[in-house]
C-alpha cells in the first residue's frame, strides 16, 4: 500500500490522516527528503521511495502568531489567543514546518529553540472530508 502511492503532496496528506509522517528517499544516492520530493535534487534520480519518519526532533525556529489568516481565525485564534507555528529539525536530519502545540503562545519568551519535540496530528472533519494538520509538542 505504502509503496503504491505516488510521491506527492496528496499522498503526504493521506498519510497524515493515517497518523504517519512520511518523507521520500532516493533509491540511488539515499538522500532523504521531508516533505517528500518526486525528484532527487542531489543526484537528479527519479527513482524515489517512501520513508517513514520517526516524528522526533527539536524546535529550530518558531513564531507566535497574533494576526492569523481567516482560516485560523475561524478556528478561534486571534490577538488574545495566539498560536505557535515552527520549523522542526527531525532526528533524521531533515526539517519540516508544523504547528507547535503544548506551549504557551501568549508567552513567547518561554518557548525555547532546541526544545525536544514529538509529532502529533490535529484532525479536523471526518471520513472523506478529514484534514490533518501536522503538529509537534514537547516530548
Amino acid at each position: 500500500m505504502m509503496q503504491e502511492r505516488s510521491i506527492s503532496t496528496i499522498s503526504f496528506n493521506q498519510f497524515l490522516n493515517e497518523e504517519k509522517l512520511m518523507g521520500s528517499k532516493c533509491k540511488k544516492c539515499g538522500t532523504l527528503y521531508s516533505p517528500p520530493r518526486p525528484i532527487c535534487i542531489n543526484c537528479f534520480s527519479r527513482e524515489m521511495e517512501w520513508a517513514e519518519l520517526k516524528g522526533k526532533g527539536k524546535l529550530a525556529a518558531f513564531t507566535c502568531i497574533y494576526v492569523g489568516p481567516p482560516w485560523m481565525i475561524k478556528q478561534g485564534y486571534d490577538r488574545k489567543h495566539p498560536y505557535c507555528s515552527g520549523v522542526v529539525e527531525l532526528e533524521e536530519g531533515v526539517k519540516i514546518d508544523a504547528r507547535i502545540e503544548g506551549v504557551d503562545a501568549s508567552k513567547p519568551e518561554t518557548i525555547k529553540i532546541g526544545t525536544p519535540l514529538t509529532v502529533t496530528y490535529l484532525h479536523r472533519g471526518e471520513e472523506e472530508k478529514m484534514e490533518t494538520f501536522l503538529a509537534f509538542k514537547p516530548s
Binding site: 503532496t9 525556529a61 513564531t63 507566535c64 502568531i65 498560536y83 504547528r99 532546541g114
Partner: protein, 423 residues
Amino acid sequence: MQQKKRKLGRGVAVVGAGMSDFGMFKDKDSRDLLVEAYNEMVSSVDKGIDPKDIEAVWVGNFSNDFYTHQAHLGPIVADLLGHTPKPVTRTEGACAASTLAFKDACFAIASGFYDVVMACGVEEMSKLSTEEATEGLALALDKPYEGIVGFTFPGVFGALATAYFEKYGATRDDLMNVTIKSHSNAPFNPKAQFKATVRDLMNRRIERAKKKGDPVPAWKDEKEALWDPMFNPPIAWPMHLYDCCPMSDGASAVLLVAEEIARNFTDNPVYVIGMGQGSGRPLHTGASLTSFEANQNGAKEAYEMSGLTPKDIQFAEVHDCFSIAELIHTEDLGFFKPGEAYKAVAEGQTRRDGPMPINTSGGLKCKGHPVGATGLAQMHEIWEQLRGEAGERQIPNKNLRIGATQNLGGTGGTCTFCIFERR
C-alpha cells in the same frame, strides 16, 4: 560545464524615473497611481521624451488578481498610457515583481531588439481588510507545507528572527534599532506612507490620549515605547507592528534606453552595471534559517557582471518587509559579516550620514510596500540619490557614485540585486 561571465550584450541606462505617492488611498486606484508614476517619469527626462518613442512596456504586479479582481493587467496598462498596440508583458515574482519587469526590459535592450522601453510596477492592497490582505500575501507561501500550518508572512520572518537571535545573540532590542533608523529618514521622503519618526508617532499617541482623557503614556524614549505592547503590539512574535511594513497602494516607473543613446535624453544618466537574481526554497527546505539562498545567487551574478565587490557599494535600498529582513539582506550581500549587521545598525553605520546608508527612502517600513511597485520604487531612490535630487534626505557623501537595490519576493523564493552607477 564552464560558468559564463554574466554580462549584457550592450549597456543600459536609466534616463527617467517616477513614483506615485505611497499610502492607503480610498480615492485612488491602480490606474490613477500608474498615471502618477508615469507622468513623473516622463517629466523627469531632462531633455524630454516623446512617448511615441517608447517601444515596449513591462509591468510588474504580484496579485491585483486577488486584491482587486483584475487580472491580465499588461494590456490595460499599455492602453491607459497610450502604448497599445506595442508589446506589453506582465511579470510576477511576488514582492519582487517589478524588478523582474526591470530585468527583462534591460535584457530586451541589451539584446538589441529595442532601444527605448519602460518598466513599471503597481499594487493596490488597501481596499481589503488586514486579514484579507494578509491572506493575499500568504498566497506566496508554500501553501501545502508552510501555509497549512498557520504561517503568515510576518510569521515566517518571525521564525527567521528567532533563529537569528539564537545563532547570533541578537534580541528584539536590536531589531528596534532598524525601525528607529528607517523612521529617521521617513519625514524627508514626500512620497512616504509614514512621513514621521518613531518619536513623532509617540507624540501623536500622547496627544490623542490627552484629548480623550486617557492615561498619558510616560515613555522616556523610543525603545520604551517600542517595548510597550499598547504602542507596538505583537503580530507574529518576535515581529511586532513596528517590525512590519504596512499594506500600501502605489506605482513606480523607469525609462530605460541603450547606453549609446542615453545622452540624447539626459546629461546625467544612471547606468545599470550589475544585475542578479536567485531562487530560494521554503523555510523548511532552505539551507539556512539565517540567510536567503536566493540572495547569495543574486549577489554573485550582479557582483560578477559589475566586477565590483561589496565594499564598492556606497549605499543601498534593501527589502525590509520586516526588520529582521534588513539585517539578513545586508549580511547576504556582503555589506556586513554574518551575525554582524545588528551591531553595525546599533553603531549607526546604516544611518543616512553613516558609512553605509541603508534605506534612505525610509525603506518599505516607512515608505510603504505596494508589493508590485517596490522594486522600481527602490530604484527611484537610487536615481534621486545618485543625481543629487533627494532633497533633505540626500546622503551627505559628495562622491556618491554607486548604489544598489535588493528586492525579495515571497519568503525568499525570488531575490534580485541590481547595481547602478553615475559616471
